[in-house]
């Protein structure tokens, strides 16, 4: 184990607001010490700064970007029950917005069971002829722990409503109910069920954050098991590396108002899900997997996204493996903000790009 280098000087720490404190700096230091290559070079010293809300995005997106870093991002539940409470509380709030969202986007959502795995079938009111035989499988985000039940369907509703596809959204088990690889197991059960509902070349898999990682993990697992692959995938800002490697974990820390920092809630949630398993396993950190033979992929992120580096690294790995892969980076957006407000033009643009990509690659 490499000893911790004082990459953050005491004088720097003293200039931080009290809430970031020495504990936060120490955990940053620990994360950095794992990367031996960094020891040869001095870090870049940045002064304190005030970063304005960008003027070149829509008013809706400005409003999202202006929100201060989420409170309690660094307050991590200490017991399985506390995690469950956090997830349920968040879900209770999230589902309040869903009826209006479904109505605005003319989408209906029906719960169903796929060989024992809970899921939702999300159906747009109007399905164009070219999409009648097509089906998208959605794996929701939430750091492998959050957004249980219906709360996980919002991205599926956006895709069904804006892209006019039928979407099967998987309500995979999460801790403390079940740990790694339960989420992936459930997603694979759903994929096997989907293979009986549509032809693989008429299907795509997509999701953001943990859902982006699960999308990649599903392809790794399908390759291992010799299952048919979908015609395309849409991993949005994937949690593709949960080992804290990636430059934007540092450069966008505290600038991203959703994830805020790799020393925050989300990485702790991933560790809670991993339950002691090696975080570098490609089924937890798919950037380390063999991405050859992957279907065409469309990746989405924002310039302020804490997972900007995760996303561009997966893009590069796919390209290095010879996979067709499109990258879309949206101005000023933090983690997953392209899916936060269905009225924002950037949201329509992002889902429009993904829908167009799927349309190009899926059979009919």
């Amino acid at each position: 184990m490499t000893p911790c280098r004082p990459v953050i000087s005491v004088s720097t720490i003293s200039r931080w607001p009290a809430r970031f404190g020495a504990g936060f700096a120490a955990s940053l230091c620990l994360a950095m010490a794992t990367a031996t290559a960094q020891e040869a070079y001095a870090p870049r010293e940045l002064p304190a700064r005030s970063i304005p809300v960008p003027a070149d995005v829509s008013p809706q997106m400005q409003k999202l970007i202006a929100v201060p870093p989420r409170t309690n991002w660094d307050s991590v539940p200490q017991t399985p029950e506390a995690w469950r409470t956090l997830a349920n509380t968040g879900a209770a709030t999230a589902i309040q917005a869903l009826p209006a969202l479904r109505e605005r986007l003319h989408v209906k959502v029906e719960p169903l069971l796929l060989n024992g795995v809970k899921a939702y079938l999300v159906t747009p009111e109007v399905i164009p002829a070219k999409n009648r035989n097509r089906l998208l499988v959605h794996v929701h985000g939430g750091c492998y722990v959050l957004s249980p039940g219906e709360a996980g369907t919002s991205e599926a509703i956006l895709m069904a409503g804006l892209g006019h596809f039928k979407v099967l959204s998987v309500d995979y088990r999460m801790p403390p109910e079940a740990y790694f690889p339960a989420a992936l197991d459930d997603a694979m059960t759903a994929w096997r069920a989907a293979l009986k509902m549509a032809k693989p070349h008429n299907m795509a898999i997509f999701g953001s954050s943990a859902g982006g990682a699960l999308t990649l993990e599903m392809i790794l697992r399908a390759k291992q098991e010799g299952l048919p692959l979908p015609a395309a995938i849409g991993p949005g800002t994937p949690m593709a590396d949960v080992t804290k490697v990636g430059d934007s974990f540092q450069t966008n820390a505290l600038l991203d108002n959703v994830l805020v920092s790799t020393d925050g809630l989300c990485d702790s949630a991933a560790k809670f899900y991993a339950n002691g398993h090696d975080m570098k396993d490609p089924l937890l950190s798919p950037v380390y997997g063999d991405l050859s033979g992957f279907p065409p992929a469309i990746l989405t992120t924002g310039t302020r996204d804490l997972l900007l580096s995760n996303t561009v690294r997966v893009h590069r790995k796919l390209r290095q493996a010879g996979v067709e892969a499109d990258l879309h980076v949206y101005e000023g957006q933090s983690h997953g903000q392209y899916g936060r407000d269905d009225t924002a033009p950037e949201t329509r643009e992002a889902f429009g790009e993904i829908a167009a990509f799927f349309d190009r690659h899926l059979g009919r």
Copy 2:
């Protein structure tokens, strides 16, 4: 004129190193005040930070990323002669590296005149059959003022050597010799000459930074003049907005060790070139141009690039105009660092992507 809001508080300024001082803060303030939308929201307050060199890039790239912000980035020449001296001094240093670069990449460079415009024909030792009738036109970077003469050929040498294309690199006039739109005029003269050397559908135009902007400006001008367009373009990290609009001008300030800040040398150089002309003219800030009908484009940038936002905004504008456009963002790189070390795997990857994109889109 909007009055300057104190977006950077006095207490924040007092925590900055002395070299950034109040003058720098005041110019930042002035830039921000032009964007009225920002006034409605509080800025994000970031503490001082130490950002380590990322571990997930090659040793060559780590070395480039570890270089401290270039000295004199904020020391702007005050007379035309001082600009000329700066350009010539930099060029004298740059050309010392060129003989070895040409030798390593098996490329020869011959000066020529194209209807009075200086240029260089850059030819690889081996040209594959598919590239014999193809020709790339290169417009170099350097903020419209730097890299005169042979110093502007390095990117053309990389493309010829790594992509095995013939490249015509335009040595356009720069201030104080000639001002806007002289650089673009010369590039267009070179394009008309190129149209007699190869078929337009066998050609592409590319360049980085000011060369990326010129690439876009050439297409805007060719559309205006009804000239044939190339089959593809490769605007690398384009200076597509010289009005200081773009979130990464703020978020990557002082993190990008090449351009360092929008209040530095490069923006001043662009203003020197513009010579009083409206900076928002699409022939200076092509992000504001009508990008419809553009050829397929491949855009390249890095996560620490001061022009990350410029690049992704052009990508979005192209996509919104229905243009096929690929975006490639490299981990941890500052402005134009994909073209700095021909031995770095990331350099070979970036030029390999551009060459493959051109190969897909160019006729033979």
